[in-house]
Symmetry: C2
Subunit: 188 residues, 2 copies
């Protein structure tokens, strides 16, 4: 058992967990995630920048085991909509996730898979967001520097990008009068 | 479900999670934890300072739920032994814990409940320690400022202080030539 006890350094500048996996999402990977498709295609025609990266340390998926990931989400907007992650549900729907803000200024958009109800919560340095089971969650950078955060979740949670990817979140977070506002995607 | 989605601010100076519980361990609460009992009693005769505090946010203990706690461990020594937490196992032995260092310079002393094997791992700002199941764990402050860290664990983990409290950890972390050293308690 104790062989699995390991210390890992988080590099907040590079967004890497020592010994962890590392994957990048570029603008071109996010087709369909932003509300303003025209502005998205315009931006993509100008270049394909990095939007976010995730470095994860997955444990053996035994009962009681935990995994964790370090996310770095760049600042920026497509039209009035802030840069965001694709968002996901856990394949094991009961699995919660604890997000720990480490740097920057962000929000988490949550959506109850069953009721469809939304919630927008702050995720900045030294702030925790508790994501209960059955809740789709997406991270949003509303600041001017990279948003850096850690997520801790049951090792057997699994990631389900399909369910939320097909229909997207009901609500959108856009900039209005220099502040983030939660708006219904259908009424933009 | 989404009613349980909440953002909580961590106050690293006061060691408090907004809305969480808060408990303190004073020197007098740690009788038996330090190797040098004579020095312990001498120190206690001079006063009963705060050694550490823990602020926790416990979730409903459903399968897949997570809880978390913010720990603040003061700097200092009893004789050559650094200030430490009592240490615990999880009542549900399979439950792992992810420690996230937020401030200061510390170590985690781990001990496999079954093999008795020990491991000493660094826990400083932006460092993670993964504590697998069946592993007693204790935090140690080897720095000059409070060590601040967050622990995330399955909500149904439970805490078992008795098992390790009765016999203590096999090894001790003491200062030797200005550096921490791991020593067998029986051979001090």
């Amino acid at each position: 058992m104790i062989a699995a006890a390991v210390a890992r350094r988080l590099d907040l500048d590079l967004g890497r967990i020592a010994g962890g996996t590392f994957s990048c999402r570029f603008l071109g990977d996010l087709r369909g995630s932003f509300a303003d498709r025209e502005r998205y295609e315009e931006a993509l025609a100008r270049g394909n920048p990095l939007i976010y990266s995730v470095s994860t340390l997955e444990s053996a998926a035994g009962d009681g085991d935990l995994s964790y990931g370090l996310g770095v989400l760049m600042p920026g907007k497509i039209g009035r909509e802030y840069f965001l992650t694709k968002g996901h549900l856990h394949a094991w729907r009961e699995a919660a996730e604890v997000y720990v803000g480490l740097r920057g200024h962000g929000l988490m958009l949550l959506e109850d898979e069953q009721s469809g109800e939304s919630k927008l919560l702050p995720l900045s340095a030294n702030e925790i967001v508790y994501v209960p089971g059955h809740t789709a969650h997406r991270t949003i950078n509303i600041g001017t520097v990279p948003l850096v955060y850690l997520g801790v979740y049951p090792a057997n949670a699994g990631h389900d990008y399909g369910a939320i990817g097909e229909r997207n979140f009901r609500n959108v977070v856009i900039e209005e009068a220099s502040s983030p506002a939660l708006r219904d995607r259908m009424k933009l």
